[in-house]
Symmetry: C2
């Protein structure tokens, strides 16, 4: 006979931690570093703070494959009443909003802490000095896996002597530094490429220090939270909006709850659904809700989604990043106009680098640097939409005077209020048709500039020979 | 300033449903069918019942892209007190045990129901007649997404006239039958290949019926639940065992809680960890627990994991399946000895079919049929460990007299107490080293038999010419 039970979210992700990227000691050490770094960068650049992030990976004297990973930042800090849950409750966070952030699941820090807890038994240590507060706080936290609640082992409050704000998170995990080292260092290097206004330092178990100092002091404006776009609506979303609305008429509710719905489009949508615009939203029947959802999804004359929710890298940053890292003879980047899928705005940016010191690409496609909401993606390239677009099997590079293998690299950055990751480990992006189309158009646009450059170069060399 | 909140598991998987395979109407319709079919097959063959499963996909008169998907089985049924949570609470189920089952996450049925709820607003209808009960039960259930609790809209109990037991689950979802059709029919066909003792019928919106009648009446023994293997232990697992143990000594606890630990190995492990075998487990310090976990994971003289937790297909079934579907001139299958990864037992089975009516393979590798715990996997082939092994880039087919493209197909079945899926949508398997090695050895073993056959065939043709 079958025995039934439920799992807490902590239990579920403990049992299935490989799905979140914690599959073996090398990959888990990488994931631990990146989850903490991504939290630190969000805490800075979502609040207009020039990020200064310091990462240390030190051997822990208890066992040869234990490492203490510590990440410090000068970010906004965390209000002390939320610290236990932020680090001790799976599916808890501040990034469940419609705004471009690196974080999205409310899971990352907890996975690193859980992995430390099950491999070394040690709690996470969190120090935070929230911006504007006179105090600093220190916590030692473990996760009660069965209940999915934090266990606060220790808590201290100290009066702060300086105005400096920020957070330090420290975990002890089992890892394989020799295998993980090159990926972790590559991740830090590419992160710095995408945030040239950040100063990032990493110190390794061998006591080597790699420092990427900021090269610009001007920061892009932080992304702003926006209302949902009607193209992405579903029945449950509309029911939830109805349940919490303060509007007394349906047309007011639509205008207030969604972006891109004005007086005129509200009337069109409601007429299409056959509902009185002045009706009390709470009096709608299920059939009316279903009809309204259907007309909202079908309507295609909306203003495109707002993009102050987004923060692209920009042409200059991408070209500077490619030039700094690869020293090519040619680099060119494009930032596409905003687009959207299922009501989520997104922007695709592509940079192409050629020649000079660019390493030789593989046969099957250019060297590919992928970024999603400024996060570098290093694993699962083969199942990513960007690889699908740029691989030689699918992109006619010869048409652009490029014969693979060649000294060619492509950088793709996709930013969105919701990146369609294929998994909670955030390593590859699904081939959503709208995104695939935009990536392809952006690569073509950049490749045309490369072709122009190459044909000029060929003519110049022919001139020279005469 | 940041606003913090938690998500219920239902809310999390609602927001991230594409990660569970519900990314677009075509894929979601496929996923809905398969989640329900997999539940029905588990309810039969885990209980020694010859499965009879009937699937209907009918247009729902409300809207042109709405379909009512109904799956009925003659399985064990569900105790009525568990029906609401089984279908209305995400992360709830009866398959959180160490035993080979198709189900594993406690999520599948709820995702289908959630998807129906957000696209059509309709509740799931569940009828169940538990084996041995005199009653039948009917439920209409929706999911309270915010609370992750079932909402029972309707409940009926009826006295049963017949002894027939089983369950019927019916949902109404938005779908794209024209796009999903070929995949769904292929999924049913391959499912039938893997369970030739099952009778499976599917009726399509066009009112076509496809029936796969059972060709054998002998069923493999149902997999049995087993205790964890010590190679997979971690600190939290050991703490949980200590917290619930009834043993008064540490060595007794180890022998009772784990498979493959006898008197002798318990003493060796405890000596290696420097702990008195007669110590009360509840008195262990964290350092002692960590040392014990370390010695349990390092020790390599355990008996291999028990395999009565597993239910392979077997050589005959695989060859019969390949012959029935492909009509090759040659078919050969191998079932490898059991192996394990991280303490989880697994068995790899491979079948190779060649020539005859086998379709021409692509250039880059043979036609590949993947199965995991008897589930056919149809998506994400490129990121699956089986493709990694058999693709032409990685497997030297020419060494076996096969020059791609050729009329060659490979079937791989991996069964385990835990399939290392890459995602909760269960479409591809991660390249765990132990599994990759076993798949490679199994393919080589089958390919050697193919080579023998091909060289005999070549010699016979040469004889003929003389
Ligand atoms: N260094 C930090 N500074 C400020 N806030 C932080 C920091 N690290 C974590 N937090 C807070 O803790 C919350 C939980 O972090 P966690 O990484 O678990 O989830 P997330 O970042 O929201 O989503 P994801 O799972 O995608 O990473 C964050 O949402 C953020 O509010
Ligand atoms: N047709 C059925 N007959 C008997 N029991 C069923 C049936 N369908 C569902 N169940 C019960 O409901 C539970 C929940 O099903 P659900 O598909 O959500 O999760 P699961 O099958 O356990 O795991 P997974 O998410 O991997 O499918 C199952 O564990 C099983 O006990
Ligand atoms: Mg995070
Ligand atoms: Mg299931």
């Amino acid at each position: 006979i079958e025995k039934f039970r439920s799992l807490s979210p902590a239990e579920f992700f403990y049992r299935n931690r490989e799905i979140a990227g914690f599959s073996n000691p090398s990959r888990a050490l990488y994931q631990t570093v990146r989850e903490l770094v991504e939290n630190s960068l969000d805490a800075c650049d979502n609040h207009g703070i020039l990020p200064t992030v310091r990462i240390t990976v030190f051997p822990e004297n208890t066992k040869e494959n234990h490492y203490r990973v510590t990440v410090s930042d000068n970010g906004i800090g965390i209000p002390p009443r939320y610290v236990p849950q932020a680090f001790g409750k799976v599916l808890f966070g501040s990034k469940y909003k419609l705004r471009q952030t690196r974080g999205t699941f409310g899971l990352g820090a907890k996975m690193a802490i859980l992995y430390g807890q099950i491999t070394t038994g040690k709690p996470v240590e969190v120090r935070t000095s929230p911006k504007g507060s006179q105090y600093s706080y220190f916590f030692k936290i473990m996760i009660d896996i069965e209940k999915n609640e934090p266990i606060v082992m220790e808590r201290r409050i100290m009066k702060r002597k300086s105005k400096r704000h920020g957070t330090t998170v420290s975990v002890v995990v089992e890892g394989d530094w020799s295998r993980a080292r090159s990926r972790i260092l590559e991740y830090i290097k590419r992160t710095a490429m995408g945030v040239p206004y950040a100063t990032i330092t990493i110190i390794t178990p061998e006591k080597e220090a790699y420092k990427y100092s900021r090269v610009i002091r001007k920061m892009p404006p932080p992304p702003r939270e926006v209302k949902p776009h009607p193209r992405g609506v579903d029945i449950e979303m509309l029911k939830a909006i109805i349940a919490s609305t303060k509007s007394s008429t349906l047309k007011d509710m639509l205008k207030n709850a969604f972006q891109s719905i004005g007086k005129k489009s509200a009337e069109i949508l409601l007429e299409e659904a056959g509902i009185d615009p002045n009706k009390d939203p709470r009096k709608l029947t299920l059939d009316e809700i279903t009809a309204l959802v259907s007309s909202m999804r079908k309507y295609n004359k909306y203003r495109p989604p707002r993009t102050d929710a987004l923060s692209p890298l920009g042409k200059d940053i991408i070209e500077a990043g490619l030039k700094g890292v690869l020293k090519p003879e040619f680099a060119y980047a494009v930032t596409r106009k905003p687009s959207s899928y299922s009501g989520h705005p997104f922007i695709v940016e592509v940079g192409v680098a050629y020649g000079g010191e660019v390493p030789l690409s593989p046969d099957k496609g250019p060297i590919l640097y992928r970024f999603a909401n400024k996060i570098p993606l290093l694993y699962d390239e083969g199942s990513d939409v960007c690889w699908k677009v740029v691989s030689d099997a699918n992109f006619n590079w010869r048409q652009y005077n490029v014969k693979l293998p060649d000294r060619i690299a492509v950088l793709v950055h996709i930013c969105s209020t919701k990146i369609p990751y294929k998994g909670v480990g955030k390593e590859s992006i699904a081939d959503v048709p709208e995104i695939e189309r935009e990536v392809r158009n952006a690569v073509k646009e950049a490749a045309r500039h490369l072709r122009l450059y190459l044909s000029k170069k060929i003519r110049a060399e022919e001139e020279k020979r005469k």
